[in-house]
């Protein structure tokens, strides 16, 4: 296995795009090293991007945040300004593995792995985040739902990799939340996850996006669930309607982590709880 650790993004693009064999990016390494160890994959090139300075930054611009592909989960959760603005995305990022994993794993890695259960992803989708992709022919931006094509699959060309995540600034009277269900209190892969992003005007929900994780081949943006809350006030009726729609919209499978029935039920419960929590956050802030 060839190992490269380029120092600049340009070098990285060159190395990666010019190599024609099986290749992978090493950022946090918390997924790829497991895959190496368990023989899931044997890449011929592994390119470490952690030494590239511009990929190691969290930057705030006028109307968006830019998080580099080399930024560890711990560095995101430690960023007070970001986590205050996007507590839900931060929750998702903070749930990726143990303390040790947090110090290595990256949000871009969590996303690139394209696991439907990735904790970092639902809240990103709910926030309308995008990725910046670099390749031989320059940069392009892509919505996350368009990026992920299925379990473990990304809509990217072989010369491309993700350099950054772009997250819009949060709106006024808005907040987000991510909740997942696991059988223990830590160290598990989400059996179900739910991210929501919510805006409130005059006690009514003025904008909302409900996104479910681990209940389909990729994260599910439930348009119907989101629409059901639009214009509504938060009460037992609107929440039970939301719960019902999410149960229906979830398209899970039976596996070692949960059953179809269980995942459907819990998807509804988590959606309800996540909306309540995001709503509470908005009320507390205002």
């Amino acid at each position: 296995m060839r190992y490269e650790a380029p120092q600049t993004l340009n070098q990285a693009v060159n190395v990666f795009s010019e190599f024609n064999g099986l290749k992978r990016i090493l950022a946090g390494g918390t997924d790829i090293l497991v895959q190496l160890r368990t023989d899931v994959i044997q890449p011929e090139l592994l390119m470490n991007i952690k030494d590239i300075e511009e990929l190691g930054k969290i930057e705030l611009f006028d109307n968006f945040w830019k998080i580099g592909a080399g930024v560890s989960a711990a560095n995101i959760t430690r960023n007070k300004e970001f986590s205050k603005e996007w507590p839900g995305i931060t929750e998702g990022v903070g749930l990726i593995g143990s303390t040790q994993i947090q110090n290595r794993a990256t949000l871009v890695g969590n996303l690139s792995n394209a696991s439907p259960a990735a904790d970092g992803v639902p809240a990103l989708v709910a926030a309308n985040a995008m990725v910046e992709i670099v390749g031989r022919n320059g940069n392009r931006k892509l919505e996350i739902l368009s990026l992920i094509s299925g379990p473990g699959k990304l809509n990217m060309k072989s010369d491309e990799f993700i350099s950054h995540i772009l997250i819009p600034r949060q709106n006024k009277n808005s907040s987000d939340c991510y909740i997942r269900f696991i059988p223990r209190t830590e160290m598990d892969i989400a059996v179900v996850g739910c991210g929501v992003n919510l805006s409130v005007e005059n006690n009514n929900i003025s904008a909302v996006k409900v996104v479910l994780g681990a209940v389909g081949p990729k994260v599910i943006f439930s348009e119907e669930a989101s629409n059901s809350l639009l214009g509504a006030s938060l009460n037992a009726d609107s929440l039970s309607k939301l719960q019902e729609i999410c149960e229906r919209d979830a398209k899970p499978i039976d596996d070692k982590r949960g059953t179809i029935d269980f995942r459907r039920k819990v998807a509804g419960v988590l959606a309800k709880r996540a909306v309540e929590k995001a709503y509470k956050r908005i009320m507390e802030d205002s």
Binding site: F181, R184, T185, M187, D188, I189, R257, G258, V266, V269
Partner: protein, 748 residues
């Protein structure tokens, strides 16, 4: 001098909490565990394992490795002894498959290469042609007519004729007439229960470093609970003499019964023999789950009859345990432990030993008992609820005491079940009001404990310090306890004693560290060896003084003349005698070899508060208390540690741990990610109460403590869950999907 059988009631060192003698090595990373050994020129061995649950092995093709210079040896079944019988054959068959792969992960072949990466690559190039056979992994399915046959002709003579060949053992015990007893009952509850296999989950994977010399002498370094057994098994499997295989036990990173069995050492020796080089083998975590010995999964039927006043009139239980693709599940232990806490006039225990396509089960902390307690204590709880009886009072009403006839036969000597229940009744935990939504669960548990072959040697150094050699690997701090015992007996400071786990060439045979036997049996042997040394010290002093042996006596580290007739001699300290021992008759060594009987049984009562999230089925454990009879706690901190560790493992087993097989019989969760042992944030503080009802079979009153602590938790949690959401969970683990399903079914 009646030193030998003197029972001690007052202690200076025993009962204190000194720092363990192997502590510094363990907190600085210097302690050497199984995988921490290296030898010049050593190779790395890797095992090729079956990806199929059940298959005929048609051909093993290694030709692709013929010209690979990194491959130094390849072994298959034909490299092991061809003429083993009985359990020896079973062990070999498990270590390396013969005609058939019997479970997912079964060893098929092994290679040794100069580096680990080369070995990992090489093993992938071996081509095995399999012919797939139908498989079965469930105990009930395996007993049914038409179930795939694992192997014919294995059944013991106890099994009734014309049963399915997978049924290989039958046990029956009890007394009285249960039919008569059930007629006397005011209420009878009969229920079936199932538990899934759980793994011991020790953090250190199996590892060894071996060297087989051309003259047949072998050296083995490995992590094991019983290195004498490793020597015995390796010698048999390789067709050599036990005394030619010298085994040194490394520090051991957890065992809980799982390291009583032998898996990789014979394979490494066979590779080493072929390559004429040392060979190191370390299992991956996935190999540990797939191919070592988890405990049995079970299917159980329990029936108990009770009077309105709480008196049990009769109890019967049938316990079906699968032991993997081999005979030997602890079904008799399940049957015998099930009703052991209760004084019953009419009781019947039945056990079935069943084979299926899973790895050969190994002991796991009180093998067989926790599952049986889960079933029995759940039924008792339901009886209490229906008859509106207090769960502790009801258990007290039926509790066994000294002289009670045990459900498995003998009469109990002095025991401490009543004391644990009384202690529970007055414990602040039991008296505390329940938090909103929580349920409180109570359960009792029982384990036999064990003695077994034991041999120790205690040598006096010239400066009066002592060096103790024992043959039982230290799996939880036993060296500290042994040093305390020597210090207590010889009246020398704890720090002046060094305890070592001797290799198999140094001491007589020692039974494995299992059955909660070490503090009892090795402790007893150490007491006797120290007393042997004291006798020799007295004899030496007497001889120095020109007296008969009975003219002197031992007191607190000194030999003194027995009375005025013995003359006026200044007392001699151990140091005085040690200093001159070379000139006065030679080295002074105390020793003891025997198979001590009288391992006192141990009972426990656990209390737990748990709450179920009705919307997700998630159970959180808020408070937990272990109350157990230790007989006499030598090092109370490590006794508490055993109590807490057993409870934690039991909580994991109750809530989340399980072997998950897919429809092809392939294990789905062979790693710590999805085999979910409790993490630090899952557990509350586990409170402990050490009850001390001395064991009459031990000079200090010691009872084994390691295993009993895992017996009550499964039922205690089930009872707490039942009290939290009003649902009786009859299947383990009580994972969130199972609990949520039960809640919904209950809601109709």
């Amino acid at each position: 001098m009646a030193l030998d059988n003197e029972n001690k009631n007052f202690f200076d060192v025993v009962g204190t909490r000194p720092i363990r003698p192997d502590g510094i090595e363990k907190v600085t990373g210097q302690a050497r565990f199984g995988a921490d050994a290296y030898l010049p020129g050593m190779l790395h061995g890797i095992i090729l394992r079956s990806p199929h649950a059940h298959a005929e092995i048609l051909n093993i093709d290694t030709t692709s490795l013929d010209n690979d210079p990194s491959v130094k040896a390849i072994v298959t079944r034909k490299d092991f002894s061809p003429d083993l019988k009985g359990e020896d054959w079973n062990i070999l068959e498990n270590v390396m498959a013969d005609q058939k792969a019997l479970y997912d992960g079964h060893a098929i072949a092994a290679v040794a290469c100069s580096s680990l990466l080369e070995a990992r690559d090489a093993v992938k190039k071996i081509r095995v042609k399999y012919s797939l056979l139908p498989h079965v992994t469930d105990v009930e399915e395996a007993m049914k007519e038409g179930a795939p046959i694992i192997r014919e002709g294995v059944a013991r003579s106890s099994v009734p004729k014309d049963m399915h060949p997978n049924i290989v053992g039958y046990h029956e015990s009890g007394h009285g007439n249960v039919e008569k007893g059930f007629i006397e009952a005011d209420l009878i509850i009969e229920e079936t229960f199932k538990t899934e296999a759980a793994h011991q989950g020790y953090i250190e994977p199996h590892a060894c470093l071996v060297n087989m010399m051309p003259d047949g002498k072998g050296e083995v370094w490995c992590c094991t609970q019983g290195h004498f057994n490793v020597a015995k098994v390796c010698a048999k499997l390789l067709g050599t003499d036990a005394s030619q295989i010298r085994v040194t036990a490394s520090e051991i990173g957890g065992g809980f019964g799982g390291k009583t069995a032998v898996f990789i050492e014979p394979v490494a020796l066979a590779l080493s023999k072929k390559a004429n080089r040392p060979v190191k083998m370390v299992m991956s975590r996935s190999e540990v789950f797939r191919a070592t010995g988890p405990t049995s999964s079970t299917s159980m039927l329990v029936k108990i009859g009770m009077k309105k006043d709480g008196k049990i009139t009769a109890a019967s239980g049938t316990f079906k345990l699968q032991g993997g693709a081999f005979p030997g599940s602890p079904m008799a232990e399940s049957a015998m432990c099930a009703f052991a806490p209760y004084d019953l006039e009419h009781v019947k225990n039945v056990g079935w030993d069943v084979m299926c396509n899973r790895p050969k089960q190994a002991a796991y902390r009180a093998p067989g008992s926790p599952m049986a307690a889960f079933a029995v204590e759940s039924v008792i709880d339901d009886l209490c609820k229906k008859l509106k009886l207090d769960p502790i009072e009801t258990r007290l009403k039926n509790a066994v005491k000294e002289g009670s006839k045990a459900s498995f036969g003998p009469r109990f000597e002095r025991i401490g079940l009543v004391e644990t229940l009384e202690s529970a009744k007055s414990h602040p935990h039991y008296l505390a009001p329940l938090k909103d939504g929580y349920g409180r669960g109570i359960s009792c548990g029982f384990w036999f404990n064990f003695g077994g072959e034991t041999s120790v040697s205690l040598a006096l150094a010239e400066d009066g310090t002592a060096s103790l050699s024992v043959g039982t690997p230290d799996i939880g701090g036993s060296r500290a306890s042994m040093c305390q015992i020597v210090s207590e007996e010889l009246s020398i400071p704890y720090e002046k004693v060094r305890a070592t786990i001797a290799d198999t060439a140094t001491l007589g045979y020692n039974e494995i560290s299992h059955g909660s036997r070490v503090t009892f049996a090795t402790g007893l042997a150490t007491i006797k060896a120290a007393r042997d040394m004291k006798r020799k010290l007295c004899a030496r002093a007497a001889s120095n003084w020109g007296l008969e042996e009975d003219a002197v006596y031992w007191e607190k580290g000194y030999v003194k003349p027995a009375g005025p007739n013995a003359g006026n001699h200044d007392p001699l300290s151990i140091i005085d005698i040690a200093k001159t021992m070379g000139r006065t008759g030679g080295p002074i060594v105390g020793h003891f070899e025997a198979s001590p009987e009288g391992a006192g049984v141990s009972f426990a009562t656990h209390i737990v508060d748990a709450k179920v999230d009705r919307e997700t089925g998630f159970t959180s454990v808020d408070r937990y208390t272990v109350i157990q009879d230790a007989g006499k706690a030598i090092h109370p901190a490590y006794v508490e540690g055993q109590f807490q560790g057993g409870a934690a493992q039991g909580i994991g087993w109750a809530l989340n741990e399980e072997y998950i097989y897919d429809e092809k019989g392939v294990l789905q969760n062979a790693g710590f990610l999805d085999y979910r042992i409790p993490v630090a944030s899952d557990l509350p503080k586990i409170d402990t109460v050490i009850v001390e009802v001395p064991n009459p079979g031990h000079p200090y009153g010691v009872r084994g403590v390691g295993e009993t602590s895992i017996c009550p938790p499964l039922a205690a949690i089930a009872n707490a869950v039942s009290n939290s959401v009003g649902i009786r969970m009859k299947e383990l683990p009580m994972s969130p999907p199972r609990i949520l399903k039960a809640i919904e079914e209950n809601n109709g």
